[in-house]
């Protein structure tokens, strides 16, 4: 395992300390590092609290700040945070307008946030994101995973909350955005969980894993490494086939790196995906390219398409001041 670490046990704490120190103008750490919260709170707005396992940096702590989250609860690497973290974060940032939990659809995340909501005083509501089309959508199962589309929900609802939307409106908006957002990921290499010390899975030099999530879970299938266009085609086809998109629809295209893939490749993938989506009649009105929802050091990327309307586009454009997103 080749990582910049001191000890397996210290990774999370030391990394959080670094984040808090590097962005001390924006965020501050809660006691025992249970959460990262905005430095300046606004008690009149709906408080947005997210969280999940660590290893996906900058998600979520990198999205704490004006126009996006109020607090983020980092769990151990790939492990949902515990209810006490979430309750304390909610307590620290909530005012009179209630707390909105933004939760990625994993059994662990959902249950821990659910327990937190049960314990929390004050009004709470929850949005669950489940944008990963690589997973079959079935009512018998837990359904799809929440992956990089979560960023888009957090950004757009964050802007609405900043502008005064109430808890109910935030929930409705978040659900609308989530319903119009789809993602799919491909891994070229596995990630290595620090505590495990070895890659979660092993791919041959000519293999890739299609349809992976963001925790090193195996994907849909393992195939021979393909050209970028072929990969982008499979991903855009799966995404578009599942989105209720019409000709001329405006969309946001997010090309997200998994941590081990450099910008030069992400822009190349963006170029391929954009071309293909435009051929399908979508208008790419907004774009984001970078490593925002990572899977430790995994080489790979995901594509996310989110359909926009006038309101959500304006909310996407609304100013944001966080460690990882600023405009």
């Amino acid at each position: 395992m080749k990582k910049f670490i001191n000890s397996v046990d210290g990774v999370l704490a030391e990394s959080l300390d670094g984040l808090a120190a590097a962005h001390a103008d924006l965020v501050t750490l809660g006691p025992e590092r249970k959460f990262v919260r905005r430095r300046e709170l606004n008690s009149r707005k709906v408080a947005l609290v997210s969280g999940g396992g660590s290893g996906h940096e900058p998600l979520h702590a990198g999205f704490v700040g004006y126009g996006m989250l109020d607090a983020a609860c980092p769990g151990q690497v790939f492990t949902s945070p515990t209810p006490d973290q979430i309750v304390e974060a909610a307590q620290a940032v909530s005012g009179d307008a209630g707390v909105l939990f933004i939760v990625k659809n994993y059994a662990g995340d959902r249950m821990n946030f659910e327990m937190a909501a049960e314990i929390s005083e004050g009004r709470t509501a929850t949005i669950v994101t489940d944008d990963d089309v690589a997973v079959e959508n079935s009512t018998h199962s837990i359904g799809r995973r929440g992956v990089a589309g979560t960023l888009i929900v957090e950004k757009i609802v964050g802007a609405a909350a900043e502008k005064g939307a109430d808890l109910q409106a935030c929930v409705a908006l978040g659900e609308r955005v989530n319903a119009r957002t789809r993602s799919m990921g491909v891994a070229l290499t596995s990630c290595t969980v620090p505590a495990a010390g070895t890659p979660t899975f092993v791919l041959a030099e000519d293999e890739m894993e299609v349809g992976v999530g963001i925790h090193g879970e195996p994907g849909r299938r393992r195939v021979k490494l393909e050209r970028a266009d072929a990969i982008a085609f499979e991903m855009t086809t799966a995404i578009a086939g599942d989105l209720d998109a019409r000709d001329g629809n405006e969309a946001l295209l997010l090309v997200n790196g998994f941590g081990g893939t450099p910008a030069i490749e992400l822009y190349l993938m963006y170029n391929a995906a954009r071309r293909m989506l435009e051929k399908r009649g979508l208008r790419i009105a907004r774009s984001l390219v970078g490593s925002y929802v990572t899977s430790l050091d995994m080489a790979g990327c995901s594509l996310t398409v989110s359909l926009l309307d006038t309101e959500t586009r304006a909310l996407w454009d609304h100013p944001v001041r966080t460690a990882a997103l600023k405009w």
Binding site: G75, T79, T82, I142
Partner: protein, 207 residues
């Protein structure tokens, strides 16, 4: 003959030690169809329990179980934290309501199992810890009072865990794999088996 505090303490101690020692096995099961953290999660949680063992063993059993539950909830995280946490919280709660150990073990255990099922919105056959916990509960009911009870529970757990391999997961992280989840033992089922067998071993005095 009612359960003695020293027995309780040594049961908890052995269960914790066994699950901590099994961390690498649990992790590698979870690497195959999950995200590879189940071993660390359980280790973290049961190390916290061990750290409080003296305090726990001075509490009445219902409170002790709830303390274990809370400790797990607050240290494990992931899916297994709320689930095992809910199990012990609910079992403790059941004990508070006029139940006694060992005679009401099936009721107490059953409350825990129900809590897991409720928290996880899951049932037997979905390739989760319930596929060990529910068969164990059946044996606790069916073989209640039987002199072989402890041995039977232990065997049930061992057999049940193997039966998760051919199942297709519909809950938990393995569900994302769809058909690719088939052929692997569920890590949570395995940790349940380890816990149950540790309790059995401790009670039978063969540590």
């Amino acid at each position: 003959m009612s359960l003695q505090p020293e027995t309780f303490k040594s049961v908890v101690k052995l269960a914790a030690e066994r699950v901590i020692a099994s961390a690498p096995e649990l992790t590698s099961l979870d690497q195959a169809i999950g995200d590879g953290d189940h071993g660390f999660n359980m280790k973290r949680g049961f190390e916290a329990v061990l750290g409080k063992l003296d305090a726990i063993s001075e509490q009445p059993f219902d409170e002790a179980l709830k303390t274990i539950g809370k400790t797990l909830v607050m240290t494990v995280g992931g899916a297994s934290g709320p689930l095992y946490g809910s199990f012990f919280l609910a079992a403790g709660e059941a004990l508070s309501h006029d139940k006694h150990l060992p005679e009401d073990i099936a009721d107490v255990f059953g409350s825990g199992v129900n809590a897991v099922s409720a928290r996880g919105r899951s049932h037997v056959g979905e390739k989760t810890m319930l596929d060990v916990l529910v068969p164990v509960l059946e044996t606790l009911k069916n073989a209640a009072g039987h002199p072989d009870l402890i041995a039977r529970v232990s065997t049930t757990a061992a057999e049940a865990v193997e039966r998760t391999a051919p199942m297709r997961a519909t809950k938990g992280r393995a569900s994302f794999l769809g058909p690719r989840s088939v052929g692997h033992i569920d890590p949570g089922a395995r940790s349940s088996c380890i816990l149950v067998q540790a309790v059995c071993a401790s009670l039978e005095g063969k540590q």
